[in-house]
Symmetry: C2
Subunit: 426 residues, 2 copies
């Protein structure tokens, strides 16, 4: 039993940050959030976590990434998209081993926990290694083995289904699994098979949709349909969908997403850095589509800092001429509750009784937090993710005052540094 | 005499970061940058600064801000521009005292030094208080008293000229002064007077130019000229000009800027957050215009983190479809050497013999720095300004391993927090 006391506690868009609330954690869940718990008999014996000088938020959710690509962080930048993929990323990815994926994932988890991210949605290869890293580190994740048409199809499809069988709802529900067809263009042949299989397995689908204008043009030229329409025709939306990007979606596409209750992972940094464009986030939100926030892989970002994505999402929405677009509180909601919902974690992302105790304390005392006119605006527009101090997932403390408790950080950094440099020289 | 040894040393766009170079600092200047200095007789007795595990860069330059507006950080966000100004910012600014400006400036300096910013260009009120804060803290600045047409004109014009007389090239050249007519629309009546006066005083002009589309439309409607053309007609460009924003400049405007050797301060965050738009940075750079980077005031940002601006400048340039636009090294150059040049500090912004010893050590060992494929890309795209460890200005250590040496940080944060909250309640 733990009692978090003295902080400013996030209570959602309407109520904002509230002072004087104590949070009681029992086991993996939040048992109570109310004033004056401290000192009451029911919390006798609880370990007290002093959150004074801090804000308290639900753990952040990174809704789309390829986490092991941390090994390729800053390996190839400032290149045209096609050169970047064909000359740099793909040749190196072909050499990735399962062990590389494990260490790259551990590196990414270290980075994310330090930045207050407690949950992530991953799509990559050797996903059983990612599952192992998630199990060991104690974070929460929704995992999908990536699949492409072509020579490796059978192996990937099998790996994707095995992952679902072995890991879906494992570790007391900390791990969920989806199937990960890369995209309607990359997995065109396999798409309906994947959709059918997801339905049978009772899992969702994590897929890239309409990331670039070129992808949409080619889809229309080839199929007479947008990528979203192709996905619908192939049955993808008959299960819960986590759609990454949706930069170039039109009214008809958005209506499909809305009708099927699909969630969108918005990747502002990656979309800007790769020159893909600007997703119509406000239009999607106003239709009631769940829009979450994500970093994409570290090779197109180049970090896994979700707070930075929340900030950038706001700027990107405002830059067209409306400074009132996507206010800070909405961004924090996207980074937490909407993110969790997008990944299928229905009891994650809020500081409310019954929810999973995924809780982050952010130190709110440095110059970027001064004065404290508005904690939410300071968090989204001014703070640094390095202000994150303590991180709890499912009631377990993963980081305490910036010291990682479940991961040997020095070993991870050493091993990942070595492997990253070795990988590009193999 | 100090010797910085063991770091990766920034040597400009062409050479990038170079290992094995030692930097010898004598007095306020860099005496030598070469391999193998350590151990040579000429450095006998030098204090050794161990930069292993760090990158070494010139101090960052924040080329346009209203630094005391830190007191209004996160006081008013997500509002339409006109509401924000007339209902929130201006009423509060009317109540600002000289003492508020001093403490707000000290808060901003604390924040900037922690983020590796050693030089800033400020335009605000009560600028003698800003000068005092700069003198005491040991940083470098280019200061301009803001001026508007109207009731306060005479007083402001007088204050602006006094500032130039009292502080230009003061503190061994650490402080420079410019005159600060707000903009061609805000200081229309006074513009030619300011230009003439700047010429007489031998100082430059710091001015807002073409920040919003509306400003340009109104200028064309009223004068048949763009704001840049109005400024030219009034003689502004007869002295060195630091022009903030230049978001809505056309070919003719850019040609004027180029012909007169004017420098532009690009404020990506502020331009996005206020919905002003996207400055044509590449077009200006390709014409040979000096483009520096800036945060603008903390009330439209909401921090003074110049590394974040460098990152955002890159993304903003790339987002239209060209990922190779504004590479990391160009952004670092804008944040250092170009910034210094824009402010008239010709011997600042590079790690070369004869340059001022404005030197920043950035710890390059955390997860966001792993692996170290490319230090420049890691700095611009992945790192946090909180990785800044040690800061030197004119050979004096201002921050050593994250401890401020010339400022009582606790007192500044306490005083600024109190004043910020009091200010909006007066």
């Amino acid at each position: 039993m733990r009692l978090i006391t003295g902080g400013l506690v996030w209570q959602g868009i309407e109520r904002g940050f509230v002072a004087g609330l104590d949070i009681l954690v029992k086991g993996s869940r939040i048992a109570a959030v109310q004033a004056g718990l401290r000192g009451s008999p029911e919390v006798n014996g609880a370990e007290v976590i002093d959150a004074s000088g801090h804000i308290v938020i639900p753990g952040l959710v990174n809704a789309h990434t390829h986490v092991a690509m941390t090994l390729l962080r800053s390996y190839a930048d400032d290149l045209p998209l096609f050169t970047w993929l064909t000359e740099k990323i793909w040749p190196v990815e072909a050499k990735l081993t399962a062990e590389d994926v494990y260490w790259g994932t551990m590196l990414g988890i270290v980075e994310m926990v330090r930045a207050g991210v407690t949950t992530f949605a991953d799509m990559y290869f050797h996903m059983e290694e990612v599952a192992r890293a998630v199990r060991e580190s104690g974070v929460r994740a929704c995992l999908a083995e990536g699949m492409f048409d072509g020579a490796s199809w059978e192996r990937q499809f099998e790996a994707a289904r095995s992952l679902a069988a072995d890991w879906h709802e494992a570790e007391d529900g900390r791990i969920r699994v989806m199937l990960g067809p890369h995209s309607p263009y990359g997995t065109y042949e396999g798409l309906s098979k994947v959709a059918k299989s997801a339905k049978e397995l009772g899992v969702g689908i994590h897929i890239h949709l309409s990331e670039t204008a070129r992808e949409v043009e080619e889809s229309r030229a080839k199929h007479g349909l947008s990528p979203v329409q192709v996905a619908e025709r192939e049955g993808v939306f008959e299960v819960p969908v986590l759609a990454a990007h949706c930069v170039h979606v039109d009214e008809a596409d958005m209506e499909i997403l809305r009708r099927h209750g699909a969630a969108v992972a918005h990747n502002p940094t990656s979309n800007m850095k790769l020159g893909s464009g600007r997703a119509p986030v406000q239009a999607m939100l106003s239709r009631g589509i769940t829009v979450a926030l994500a970093t994409d892989g570290a090779s197109s970002n180049n970090n896994l800092d979700l707070l930075e994505e929340a900030r950038l999402a706001a700027y990107l929405a405002k830059m067209e001429g409306d400074p009132s677009a996507l206010p800070a509180a909405v961004c924090l909601d996207m980074a937490t509750r909407k993110g969790a919902a997008a990944l299928g974690f229905d009891d994650v992302g809020a500081l409310e009784p019954g929810f999973q105790a995924d809780i982050v304390l952010v130190e709110a005392s440095g110059p970027q937090w001064t004065p404290l006119h508005d904690p939410c605006a300071n968090l989204i527009y001014s703070a640094s993710s390095s202000d994150v101090s303590t991180v709890m997932v499912a009631g377990e403390i993963i980081m305490e005052r910036r010291i990682l408790k479940t991961i040997d950080e020095r070993r991870v950094l050493t091993e990942a540094a070595k492997r990253g440099l070795d990988l590009v020289r193999r």
